[in-house]
């Protein structure tokens, strides 16, 4: 019971507060720019050459305001937005009018979540294990070489790294398709279908795992270099505990804990990275949807994506936090 009171309840409250603050910020920040998305759209329509007479413009403005949830006072708009959040109804999308934004998101989000979860877990596990081992043997030559390679990969932005991977694997050696996976009308789960998904997801996942793994590698290497010097490790070494056991039980496990907290903190950035990589590879996820929405000035869609992403990230952090006691015995026994 104490676990619920001391750990679970505060986490849940934190979860709700964070969502509240995040969505409130998303509501107010665009309004601080003093720009009106409705006028933007009308200017865009006019710049495309269509002639609109003033009455048409006026009725268009009223319709658009309603569609964007922009009618009424600021307070009414704010309440209105929360209604939208709770019903997950973000109005119709503009570039695929009149498909509701919610429908589009429902089609594309599972793909993003799939890529996000797999690549994040893989990157985290690989980066930490390799980084841990490299940190333990930091005096060896192979560790130094690996470190130098990671130094070059680490600072490269997602988009640039994606383009490089795309050029290498899809154009120079034509091993993988350059994107353009079609979403089937109905998904038939069979071997061929799974193979197709793997073929199209391989390059985006590779990009994310290498880039993400590189940053986990470096953090873990530093952590392990410090843990290695702790007394209990020296004691185990003198006591003749096998080296394999020292690495896995004594060093890695201890250094992993801060890395779980780090993962929770970094999820927002990791998610942004996923969206960016999806754009490079035209992977049919929220990132691609975002690209199309932005290039066509679809304000509702971008707003919907932002709010949904906040929900996705905070929920992932919550899940991670709830699993944390499994890794940290100190919380379990409290």
């Amino acid at each position: 019971m104490r676990f619920f009171r001391d750990y679970l309840i505060p986490r849940l409250i934190q979860y709700i507060v964070v969502i509240f603050c995040g969505i409130t910020a998303v509501f107010f920040i665009p309004r601080m720019t003093g720009q009106d998305p409705v006028l933007e759209i009308i200017a865009q329509i006019q710049s495309q050459g269509s002639q609109l007479d003033p009455t048409a413009v006026k009725s268009l403005m009223v319709t658009l305001k309603e569609l964007y949830g922009l009618e009424g006072t600021l307070f009414e708009q704010y309440i209105n937005m929360w209604k939208r959040v709770f019903t997950l109804d973000f109005g119709p999308s503009f570039f695929q009018f009149p498909t509701p934004v919610a429908d589009l998101l429902r089609t594309y989000l599972p793909w993003t979540i799939g890529l996000f979860v797999t690549s994040t877990l893989l990157a985290w596990a690989l980066g930490n294990i390799l980084g841990g081992i490299a940190g333990y043997f930091s005096h060896k030559n192979w560790s130094k070489i690996l470190d130098a390679i990671i130094m070059v990969i680490r600072p490269v932005p997602h988009y640039i790294f994606g383009v490089l991977v795309l050029i290498l694997f899809a154009f120079v050696w034509q091993l993988f398709p350059a994107g353009g996976m079609m979403l089937g009308r109905r998904m038939v789960v069979n071997f061929k279908f799974i193979l197709t998904i793997l073929r199209y997801s391989f390059l985006p996942a590779l990009t994310l795992v290498i880039l993400g793994g590189a940053s986990w590698f470096q953090q873990m290497k530093l952590l392990v270099q410090n843990v290695k010097r702790e007394d209990f490790v020296q004691y185990a070494q003198t006591g003749g505990v096998k080296e394999k056991l020292i690495i896995s039980r004594y060093v890695l496990r201890n250094a992993m804990l801060p890395q779980i907290t780090q993962l929770a903190l970094a999820l927002g950035q990791v998610f942004s990275g996923v969206l960016i990589v999806e754009m490079v590879f035209s992977y049919p996820g929220v990132g691609l949807l975002l690209y199309r929405g932005v290039t066509r000035g679809d304000y509702n869609l971008v707003m919907g994506i932002t709010i949904l992403s906040i929900l996705t990230i905070t929920t992932s952090v919550l899940i991670l936090d709830l699993f944390y006691p499994l890794f940290d015995p100190r919380i379990r026994h409290r």
Partner: protein, 284 residues
């Protein structure tokens, strides 16, 4: 001179320093371009690299080499504006939150946590969608600065928190130093390595973000930057058409720039950090 000699022993510093010097020469070169770098159709289009056009020409009729020099200069302007202004915010927030503590700390950290949880990239896109035409170099830099301080404020705050617990704080206060002089004279020098490394990280982040914003068409596409150069190369299908010299130029330059900055920053902040320096000399 002794300091430089020490630093050059670190291969990361040597490589970073030399690459940054080369890039700096490119920036200088951009002032001596043979034609106005914003104008189109100045040279024959789509020519592969040759003696007259070192990096070939693009489909817009510009020399890729000169376009690249200008792009680096402009990307650096954006990144430096973003880096320095967000440093000012991060230092102020971090120091005030860390030193004052209590309710001030909670409010400031609440704001920065809020910024951390929302995927910043999406908020940047949302704001940029509305500002679009107004996003010149300076404004893009300011926009990035406005959102890019949260993580670093947090790091600086935790450093200040740990400094506040050290004994010298008490000594200094008891010997009659004011809070302000304590913070500026004692804390600030100790946080410089940290601030420096967050600066470089922020510059790298800003360059990456500018590229994505440009790909989405959200900055002024007529001004060459690393991002817009790439955006034009992709728009003109240079990958499919095999105009590798065009698309690879911004890609390679970005990588070189960021790797150089990163190597430079890691080695300098290690050098400035006394604990790491001892390790480097070889003592355990």
């Amino acid at each position: 001179m002794g300091i430089l000699k020490d630093l050059f022993k670190d291969y990361r510093f040597a490589v970073g320093f030399i690459l940054l010097c080369l890039l700096f020469f490119l920036v200088i070169a951009s002032f001596f371009s043979p034609y106005d770098l914003i104008k189109w159709l100045q040279v024959p289009r789509d020519k592969a690299p040759s003696r007259s056009h070192l990096l070939g020409t693009n489909s817009k009729g510009q020399d890729v080499f000169w376009e690249a020099t200008f792009a680096i200069r402009n990307s650096l302007i954006i990144a430096l504006i973003s880096g320095f202004i967000s440093r000012i915010i991060a230092i102020l927030v971090g120091f005030v939150a860390g030193y004052k503590g209590g309710i001030t700390d909670r409010i400031l950290m609440g704001i920065s946590d809020g910024l951390l949880v929302i995927p910043l990239f999406l908020v940047l896109v949302l704001v940029a969608m509305l500002l679009r035409e107004a996003l010149t170099l300076v404004n893009t830099g300011l926009l990035l600065a406005f959102f890019g301080w949260a993580w670093d404020a947090r790091t600086i705050r935790s450093q200040v928190l740990s400094l506040r617990e050290r004994e010298f704080t008490q000594t200094s206060l008891l010997s009659g130093n004011g809070t302000l002089s304590l913070v500026i004279k004692e804390y600030f020098p100790l946080t410089i390595p940290l601030i420096f490394s967050t600066l470089i990280n922020n510059i790298a982040w800003a360059i990456g973000m500018e590229i994505v914003l440009a790909i989405l068409g959200l900055v002024r596409l007529d001004i060459p930057t690393l991002g817009t150069t790439l955006q034009w190369a992709i728009t003109y299908q240079s990958m499919l058409l095999g105009h590798w010299w065009w698309i690879l130029t911004p890609v390679v330059l970005t990588i070189v720039l960021l790797v150089a900055l990163y190597g430079f920053s890691v080695s300098v902040s290690e050098y400035l950090d006394p604990r790491m320096r001892i390790q480097r000399i070889g003592a355990k």
